[in-house]
């Protein structure tokens, strides 16, 4: 018998859709994974086709994180769920002061999802991962019946390695510390909202979705030892990030609205929607809290990096048993910036 192997037809990426059989462990699943995911992520760990990736030893403490991505719409100005799922998880590693090393990706796909969209998302993830130098080394694919998901959900996890001298945590803010943000607030949320069916407006704002570990590396090099806390102000925006830190460090904040960068289009979109940019999500910005005397050095390092060129020192940490985030308004009065309590739009990340 000559070795008559089945002739593998390529997935019909243009017209095909994910079927239930692509999730049930047979040849169809193997083909989907190979033709779309392995092709896009392209590395030997994946090609070895094991259920786990064997990696090199990491020199230093380990940092681990995970996020689920359910953003709607899946494609938005400045990014898509694929690149977002790479950036967001890299950023959570970076916010711990660590260097992100490896990512995993778990896909939950709705029956009927077009291959073309899945490939576009996978390609975008692959590009984001390569650009960041953080490979996706292992993954998983599940398919659920039509109506049991919303296109595709992605959960990524990441591991990184933490230099000895760095110890960041949200309970480490101390009165007197400086508060810095790396750039304008609210871009991601406004970019998403501009594509929501029931809000539809047009605005030339791109999501700021970006990997922050390079910026963080420069910040650590400049003033690592004096960093106390870093956060990426994602869901709930700057307001949520500061309130969480205030609560966990049992401090308050005194910030100035005029010092917080907000793009005019973002401000305008927020006016339209009755939102406050301080509550709107970012995906490529960080807030850093550091010892006061290091603030200028840190700010200079941030501004020297492309992702921090609009960095700004927005205020400082104060003693406050109420854990208020107090803000001098641009108008000249005072207010607090409380936790979010109105409706925020869901599925922003």
């Amino acid at each position: 018998m000559n070795r008559a192997k089945p002739i593998r037809r390529k997935l019909d990426i243009k017209n095909g859709r994910v079927e239930l059989s692509h999730g049930s462990g047979g040849r169809a699943m193997a083909q989907l994974i190979n033709d779309i995911f392995h092709a896009a992520f392209d590395n030997d760990w994946l090609r070895s086709n094991n259920d786990q990736a064997s990696l090199d030893a990491l020199p230093g403490r380990l940092v681990m994180t995970t996020d689920g991505y359910v953003v709607s719409p899946l494609f938005f100005p400045g990014g898509d769920i694929g690149s977002l799922s790479v950036h967001g998880t890299i950023n959570d590693i970076a916010m711990g002061g660590a260097t992100p090393k490896y990512l995993s990706a778990s896909f939950i796909i709705e029956e009927g999802f077009p291959f073309a969209d899945l490939e576009r998302i996978a390609q975008s993830m692959g590009e984001a991962s390569r650009a960041a130098g953080v490979p996706i080394v292992t993954g998983d694919t599940k398919v659920v019946e039509r109506g049991k998901a919303d296109g595709v959900f992605i959960s990524t996890a990441g591991v990184g390695v933490l230099p000895e001298e760095i110890s960041l945590s949200s309970d480490k803010a101390r009165p007197g510390d400086a508060v810095l943000v790396s750039g304008s607030m609210g871009d991601h949320g406004v970019a998403i909202m501009s594509r929501r069916e029931n809000l539809q407006f047009d605005v030339e704002i791109l999501s700021d979705s970006a990997p922050l570990h390079g910026l963080v590396a420069d910040m650590i090099a400049a003033a690592g030892g004096s960093l106390r806390v870093m956060r990426d102000p994602t869901r709930g925006g700057l307001a949520a990030a500061l309130n969480e830190i205030a609560l966990q460090s049992d401090v308050g904040f005194a910030i100035e609205e005029a010092l917080i960068p907000v793009k005019p289009q973002v401000a305008a979109a927020c006016e339209f929607l009755g939102l406050d940019p301080l509550y709107v999500a970012n995906e490529g910005k960080l807030v850093a809290i550091c010892e006061a005397q290091a603030a200028e050095t840190l700010l200079a390092a941030m501004r020297a990096h492309p992702l921090g060129k609009n960095a700004s020192m927005i205020g400082h940490v104060v003693e406050d048993e109420n854990n208020f985030v107090e803000m001098k308004t641009g108008f000249g009065g005072g207010r607090i910036v409380d936790w979010l309590s109105g409706e925020q739009l869901p599925r922003i990340c």
Partner: protein
């Protein structure tokens, strides 16, 4: 942002604050009610209170349609939404408002009701068109500002023969409520000295409907824009009138309000709606001729008739001080529940349910002032 940024200028704000301080006579207290929740929100968000002298005091009025909506009407909306054939469309503001027994539209949605947040009546009508097998009910709420969009949607639905669209009408009227406040002024509570009138309502109804405030109650009104400098300018105008012993209806928002209002909008309202005999306002009680319902000609689009809604009264928490707060007799921090049992996540009374309510605005923006206040209590009161 043209017509916005210039009214938020901090340098002008400083000057205006000084002007108000200079104009306000020492030894005299000025108690002004900003009727509208939009003003309450602006005052809180921009910190306008910090820029007023101690003897100019702002009382937050009942001008938030979400806050004054009686719990029974939310119960009605939840019952409607629970019908398997109904899709309820609502402005997002209403989603979290607590109804009876801990319910809310948000919880009803979680429990399976088809409830959609819309930005505009246009969206609700679009949903009705694209899902002809669903009964699409728009949960209409708002003052005169928000009423014309509802009227236009109903008119449009009728013109199109859109048979599956209806409106659960909760539109209420500003001047009537203002009269109720003024008529209810109590002994022992210092009376209001003037009123900051809502400019967006007046884009529709004009400034004339407020004349009774001057003629009958002898208090000045300034129709005021919603930017913080608009409000401060209006306050200055009020102080000025009082100092001159005038009580007139002045229009600070002349850039978009004319005395007679918007004829097209008023026509649309008049065509579609008629006065209810009486309507319950949370915090104020039943107020005669204070709300609208659909006319008989539009009965087919009236969810109250279509679904035979009969609103049941639901009692508010007796410890809630909203009534007194709305009348200017108390402030949020005078309420025992404020900030402990009553918070924006767990509102116990009407003033806490929307960010435009006086308790909610104070909670979200102003609580830090309570520190100062407790230190120098008595100075302000």
């Amino acid at each position: 942002m043209k017509y916005v940024d210039e009214y938020r200028d901090p340098a002008l704000a400083k000057g205006l604050a000084a002007a108000i301080a200079a104009e306000a006579e020492a030894g005299r207290t000025y108690r002004f009610m900003e009727f509208c929740g939009g003003h309450t929100h602006a005052i809180s968000r921009y910190g306008v209170e910090d820029m007023l002298p101690a003897n100019v005091r702002m009382i937050h009025g009942p001008g938030c349609p979400v806050c004054v909506l009686p719990v029974g009407r939310i119960d009605d909306a939840i019952r409607l939404a629970a019908r398997p054939d109904v899709t309820l469309c609502t402005y997002a503001d209403l989603m979290r408002v607590p109804a009876s027994n801990g319910a809310s539209l948000l919880k009803a949605r979680a429990a399976g009701a088809d409830i959609r947040m819309v930005y505009s009546t246009l969206d609700a009508l679009r949903i009705a068109r694209s899902e002809p097998r669903r009964e699409v009910v728009f949960f209409a709420i708002g003052f005169e500002t928000t009423t014309p969009p509802t009227a236009l949607a109903v008119r449009q639905a009728k013109a199109e023969g859109c048979a599956n669209f209806s409106v659960f009408c909760n539109h209420v009227l500003t001047p009537v409520a203002m009269r109720a406040i003024l008529a209810g002024e109590e002994e022992g509570v210092p009376p209001l000295d003037g009123i900051v009138g809502p400019a967006h309502v007046s884009t529709v109804i004009g400034s004339r409907p407020y004349e009774f405030v001057a003629t009958e109650y002898h208090k000045p009104v300034v129709i005021s824009g919603f930017e913080p400098l608009d409000v401060m300018q209006s306050i200055l105008m009020l102080v000025h009138q009082l100092n001159q012993n005038r009580c007139e209806i002045e229009n600070q928002y002349a850039r978009a309000v004319v005395p007679q209002g918007n004829a097209r909008a008023l026509e649309a309202i008049a065509e579609v709606f008629e006065l209810r005999d009486s309507f319950e306002w949370r915090g104020l009680g039943a107020v005669a001729k204070s709300a609208l319902r659909l006319r008989d000609a539009f009965a087919a689009f009236d969810a109250e008739r279509r679904f035979e809604i009969e609103t049941k009264a639901a009692a508010d928490n007796p410890a809630c001080e909203c009534g007194a707060i709305l009348r200017g007799a108390k402030r949020p921090m005078d309420c025992k529940l404020f900030g402990t049992l009553c918070t924006p996540e767990t509102p116990m009374g009407s003033c806490m349910v929307s960010s435009e309510g006086s308790c909610a605005a104070h909670y979200a923006y102003g609580r830090f002032r309570d520190r100062a206040r407790t230190q120098k209590e008595g100075v302000l009161q």
